[in-house]
Symmetry: C2
Subunit: 450 residues, 2 copies
């Protein structure tokens, strides 16, 4: 295809995965990666653990330097370089670096602009001490702030993944910590008994959890945040606030270039990670993907699919043959909440209903190890299925054995297994690892027996 | 079908599972369970952990008493009752209990006679201090012996599962422990780098491991074992010896009754757990089963399939409609060796060759957690596949995240996935649980890239 210059916009997970895979596919290609911020190649998912102190320095999250990419892989990674505009018809990107504007031509382009933390425009949201947590610089600012201001009370707005991880981080730093969540759910979809387990864990570790309260404003003392005010009138002291109400795809540059944006608000892509513009690909948190269970295009900004979409985009942007394909997601993720493992895959009951299924649920609680073997824990499982017995999703909560067991459900969703087929799986048993009948077999036997 | 009396021979895992499932299927059925020994309803897999002292008493392994079965489920469980002979034509079993012989009639019969530890007829094998470890009474005898004799040196013959678990148990009791294995493998199929990891763990924990030495005799001092002699002439001091060279199906009574015995030496059964005799079923460690990967009948005496075959046999023996089916196994198992998790599923390279495949292997070593997250471990994976990319098996060794990850491979084997499909799975990621690209995705990506 005679590609000569690959341009990648975004120097973190998906963007660098694309660059690396393009290099593997096309040793002679010129590859340039543009990164708006000072930071490239870091594991943003580790930020809460730096804040907690478990990881001793922010630099530990950095995988590679620009020198590494240049010297080892002949990839030119340019930090502090912002892509301002894409002109697909001319195959040009307008960039700004060091205060200068210039144009860069491309034969193929990979958009990996990621997602941005949502900061609702509430009164006082720009006070010092109000943070989001998404990029390395967010972590840097928060750590500096804590060092200087030494806050005593923290409020976290939103009980999503980042909110819960940050609750643990703040507690580890000795802060009085309150999580304020506007819905009655944890992590947007976790309700009922599973939600209660998470709330119990948080409260047991000294986190105040307030459900069904919507934050309406932040009050300051001078420039500094001092209180978080709810619509109900309730107020919480806070010298530091973490807003974890969600993220949105960073698609402004794609939209301005006339690229098709999907219903989800993210860049529309096909299974080859192609956008609507010729030779322009998108990958990671700025792009849509296929949900294999609902069959719909979804936006699921998570690190593992981001990297893999990056590989696909990079291979195809480099003209790899046969074309690389991304098979889509089934909606798997996991989070540690203090000593609890919380994981899910597929659709929740409500998501299944919204996707047009007529779903039922099975709930089961089983030990993680043989009953006589010390140190086990209860695993609470919720399995969602349709009337034909097709597996639609699963959620699990427990102190061990959850994060990898959810992967069995994920594999079953990929393979389109029915509950009764899951119940036939030959799973590993040894007293330290599982009861004789694994929690997965226990849960999926329920349907059998009504 | 007018069944009135169900007889079950064997009062442990498969037998009691059959009785319980029959009770669920047929509330009015008379159900009698005959158990030769004094012990019923116990978790034999826990024996090494009682010997080690981790579990404080043998009684902890007992789940239920005969009273429980009688009072809660109207199941008559008779310990100390040996089935001597089955007369299928007359639907009668000859039994011996309390020194008396009698006949018991049945409408349907479930054979769950289990497996017996192999004790090779070497000189001195009947010396005091030479043990096998299979039934509760084996554990009782060993514990009494250790209490009385206070041995200092232990030899374990055979590096199978029970041998390795018992090595850990003996070390926990402060014994000098030597494992003597006649082959160059661990757990009969684990070779190469995976074997080396297990050997390193054992040696690191003070266990002497001797590979390629065949034991030829036990020498005594009086009635007591004192030395283990190898064919090469090497000898090891031992006041206690554990023979863990394998088990064989306990099929004498089935054979005598004219039931078909498969090539594996275990009772031949179909997917409904029916034997060749009308109204006679078999389940658990005495019976064969289908290996879904090789397509062959195999003998795989493990607790999880045993219980589930018991359920199937019990349901069908009670005349359940539709008939229950056992889907077969894929050969999954796991064992803890000190701090190491060792697990496998499907076929090893050699097993795949023997089954007529033309297999290849991928070997990959990856971290169990994000690189920056403390406390992770390396997971070594070997994946076996054929030329078309069909998954045939996997083996894994590591200090965490192995026993449940193997279940993903097991699910993939059930669903007949190819390596490239495994590589498409959407698996859970969070820094404490996995690296961004899960070890399963890393290993299965290798094929992709040659």
């Amino acid at each position: 295809m005679g590609k000569e210059q690959l341009l990648v916009i975004g120097g973190v997970a998906a963007g660098l995965a694309a660059a690396m895979q393009a290099r593997r596919a096309a040793p002679g290609l010129r590859i340039t990666v543009l990164e708006k911020t000072a930071d490239i190649s870091y594991g943003a998912c580790g930020l809460p653990y730096v804040v907690s102190g478990l990881i001793p320095a922010l630099e530990r999250l950095v995988l590679h330097t620009p020198e590494y990419f240049r010297e080892q892989h002949d990839i030119d990674v340019q930090p502090h370089t912002e892509a301002l505009e894409i002109l697909p018809a001319r195959s040009v990107v307008r960039v700004r670096a060091n205060g200068e504007r210039r144009e860069m031509g491309f034969d193929s382009l990979v958009l990996a602009t990621g997602a941005a933390a949502v900061c609702p425009p509430l009164a006082g949201h720009d006070l010092a001490g109000v943070f989001v947590m998404r990029q390395l610089r967010d972590g840097r600012r928060l750590l500096q702030f804590i060092e200087q201001v030494r806050p005593r009370d923290a409020v976290i707005v939103g009980a999503g993944y980042i909110g819960l991880e940050m609750a643990e981080a703040f507690r580890a730093r000795g802060l009085n910590t309150t999580v304020v969540e506007s819905t009655d759910k944890m992590m947007s979809t976790l309700g009922g008994a599973l939600r209660d387990r998470v709330v119990d864990e948080l409260r047991g570790r000294g986190v105040e959890v307030v459900l069904g309260e919507r934050v309406s404003a932040f009050e300051g003392r001078g420039e500094q945040v001092a209180r978080v005010i709810c619509e109900s009138g309730r107020a919480f002291e806070a010298q530091v606030v973490l807003i974890g109400v969600g993220v949105r795809p960073a698609v402004e540059i794609a939209k301005d270039a006339g690229l098709e944006i999907g219903e989800t608000g993210a860049v529309a892509t096909d299974a080859n990670q192609r956008t609507s513009a010729a030779n322009v690909f998108a990958a990671g948190d700025c792009s849509e993907t296929l949900h294999r269970v609902s069959g719909r295009r979804v936006w699921m900004p998570l690190a593992q699919p981001a990297v893999r979409q990056g590989w696909v985009a990079g291979a195809n942007a480099a003209g790899a043959m046969p074309e690389a394909r991304f098979a889509g997601v089934v909606g798997t993720n996991a989070v540690k909440v203090f000593d609890l493992e919380v994981a899910r895959t597929g659709l929740s009951l409500e998501e299944a209903q919204a996707a047009g299924f007529d779903p039922s649920i099975i709930e089961d609680e089983t030990a993680s190890r043989a009953g006589y073997y010390p140190g086990g824990a209860k695993i609470l499982t919720r399995v969602v299925h349709d009337k034909s017995g097709r597996l639609l999703g699963a959620q699990m909560v427990g102190r061990e054995g959850v994060a990898q067991r959810i992967d069995v459900y994920a594999a079953a969703l990929h393979a389109n297994l029915k509950i009764e087929e899951l119940n036939q799986l030959d799973l590993a048993y040894a007293p330290p690892f599982a009861p004789t009948i694994d929690p997965i077999l226990r849960a999926t036997k329920q349907r059998d027996e009504g």
